[in-house]
């Protein structure tokens, strides 16, 4: 399932991740928007997916045999827009319209008029169910493409996800991969202090999924995990990540779920990312 047309090596996807991070910080700065920490958290996952793992074609975003990618944690839409722009789905300049009056690049990811986005999300707990439907439809017609859905950890509080998790295992949707951005921080507090998920991997295993745990910022490990699938079960890749990854003062901070990078903080973030 590797994107043979544009398969990037690990150093190249790392370079792509840097571009995504720089764009995300610029977009949230220009738009004075929230969720920069959530977007930085998934930059490496998206770089490996769009740079290497997913079979997608920017010149033909709707080709029938493409892999489907669904961002369920829609609040990190800036990172997906950046990944799409930096892999050729639309111009990088377009990213500057994010969050601006009249823009189609909404804070939560939107499919309308945006090449490469399959599903608009924003309310948590929707993406996996839709991805299950896509995977079930593919299974029914013996199509070979994969469906990959990226969720947040806090989002796993939503009961709708567990309905989807049960269904996917029962129907042996081996074409489905759920990727969890497990940065351990949700909207107000650490996950462990809100609704603890542990033992998290065991829960997915108990629900009948194959589970791989991986460092969500290590590209070779990500590529191996995201490319794998089980014989007869859906695959969950739990990515241990750092919220705000790449900007030291944003890392592991609840504050940067909401705070927007402005003034000296913006300058410092840019210097860290561009100097790195």
């Amino acid at each position: 399932m590797v994107n043979t047309a544009n398969a990037l090596t690990a150093p190249e996807t790392e370079e792509l991740a840097k571009k995504i991070r720089s764009s995300v910080v610029r977009m949230t700065h220009l738009g004075k928007s929230s969720h920069v920490g959530s977007a930085l958290s998934i930059a490496d996952i998206l770089a490996v997916l769009y740079g290497d793992v997913l079979n997608v074609d920017p010149s033909d975003p709707s080709k029938p045999d493409r892999d489907r990618f669904v961002l369920s944690k829609g609040h990190a839409g800036a990172a997906v827009y950046a990944a799409l722009a930096h892999t050729g789905f639309f111009s990088v300049e377009t990213l500057d319209k994010h969050y601006q009056n009249g823009s189609i690049l909404s804070g939560h990811v939107s499919h309308k008029g945006v090449p490469g986005v399959e599903l608009s999300t924003g309310s948590l707990g929707h993406g996996l169910g839709v991805a299950v439907g896509m995977a079930k439809a593919a299974q029914m017609r013996s199509a070979k493409h994969r469906v990959v859905c990226l969720l947040s950890d806090g989002e796993c509080d939503e009961g709708s996800n567990w309905e989807a998790v049960l269904f996917a295992a029962h129907h042996g949707l081996r074409n489905l991969t759920a990727v969890i951005d497990y940065n351990k921080i949700q909207s107000l507090d650490p996950v462990a202090d809100t609704i603890g998920l542990e033992p998290f991997a065991d829960k997915w295993v108990a629900f009948g999924w194959k589970v791989t745990e991986v460092d969500g910022h290590e590209h070779t490990a990500l590529r191996n995990a995201l490319s794998a699938s089980a014989d007869d079960a859906p695959h969950c890749v739990i990515c241990h990540t750092t919220k705000g990854k790449g900007v030291s003062f944003m890392e592991n901070s609840v504050l940067w779920h909401y705070r927007t990078p402005q003034g000296e903080e913006y300058d410092a973030a840019v210097e860290e990312l561009d100097g790195a």
Binding site: H126, V130, G133, M134, A137, E163, A164
Partner: protein, 302 residues
């Protein structure tokens, strides 16, 4: 009505592999024939309406024409946001079948009384909302929903109004069952039977009462409502549903905005929960929406 709907979907699914029916673990006995004839196009999502609806959206994105099936409020209110965000915003061919409109399952209690569904479904952009009065109409409603690309809601009633079938009915347009000059009763669903009976009784008392039928609540035949409001001084909406936001609400919006001279009386469940149980007829009587109640409310108003 329920059997006719499922029968029609079974017929069509055998000819069209795109059609898929997903149930939320309901339909015992009712879905047997469909399951036998269209096994590959049948999914039991289990007791999980949110996933049923999200999944329906995902399958429709892949080219399927999807029906979701459950009772009363389960395929609508339980998963309202999936209908709003996943189905309607993406404008997908997902059609929600809700059996047990109004008091169809009267004995089962408030949880099973669908009395706000029309109002809430009508508020969503892109969706068509249909509530037929008779099984033959429901069959045409299935055809209409399949033929259009976007989302649909089909309210399936246990009762029927006994209206005679017509060839090639236009469900989008109001149907005049009876003309009248003093009052026009506007009904939707099986309770149309009460309108027809009430019009007879009013006629016997010297009141010229007409009867109009709405099958498609959304998009509403606005011109038809305006024409009625210009012909008669009083419109009376009758629905086995809350008076808030359903047929009564829709008609109120039209006659207020178009500045028609007609006044309006809304008959239905008066912004309350139905906390007692009984047959559909019994509850219509208790909640004052049967023929006798319609007659008395109209006479009081005239």
């Amino acid at each position: 009505m329920r059997d006719h709907v499922v029968g029609r979907i079974t017929q069509l699914a055998q000819q069209d592999p795109r059609i898929v029916l997903i149930t939320g673990d309901l339909g015992f006995g009712v879905l047997n024939e469909y399951r036998e004839r269209c096994a590959a196009q049948f999914i039991n999502a289990g007791v999980a309406e949110q996933n049923m609806t999200a999944m329906a959206a995902g399958m429709a994105m892949e080219g399927h024409i999807v029906f979701t099936y459950s009772i009363a409020n389960f395929p609508t209110l339980r998963c309202l946001e999936q209908i709003r965000n996943d189905v309607c915003y993406h404008d997908l061919n997902v059609n929600v079948l809700a059996v047990g409109g109004g008091f169809s399952y009267g004995q089962l209690g408030m949880s099973h009384h669908a009395t706000e569904d029309l109002s809430i479904m009508r508020a969503l952009p892109n969706i068509q909302v249909l509530a037929p009065s008779d099984p033959w109409q429901a069959v045409h409603a299935v055809d209409a929903l399949i033929a259009q690309d976007g989302p649909g809601y089909l309210r399936i009633d246990k009762s029927s109004a006994g209206v005679a079938p017509i060839d090639h009915p236009d469900l989008a347009t109001l149907r005049v069952h009876r003309d009248g000059t003093d009052v026009m009763l506007v009904g939707i669903g099986g309770i149309l039977a009460e309108c027809l009976e009430a019009a007879e009784q009013l006629g016997a008392r010297g009141v010229s009462a007409g009867v109009l039928e709405v099958v498609t609540l959304k998009p509403l035949d606005v011109d038809g409502i305006v024409a009625a409001a210009e012909r008669t001084p009083l419109l009376v909406t009758v629905e086995e549903h809350s008076v808030v936001g359903g047929l009564g609400g829709a008609v109120a919006e039209v006659i207020a905005e178009r500045r028609t001279a007609a006044s309006l009386l809304r008959i239905g469940l008066n912004d309350t929960y139905s906390s007692i149980v009984g047959s559909q007829d019994y509850l219509r009587n208790v909640y004052e929406m049967d023929a006798a109640a319609i007659v008395s409310k109209v006479l009081e108003r005239l």
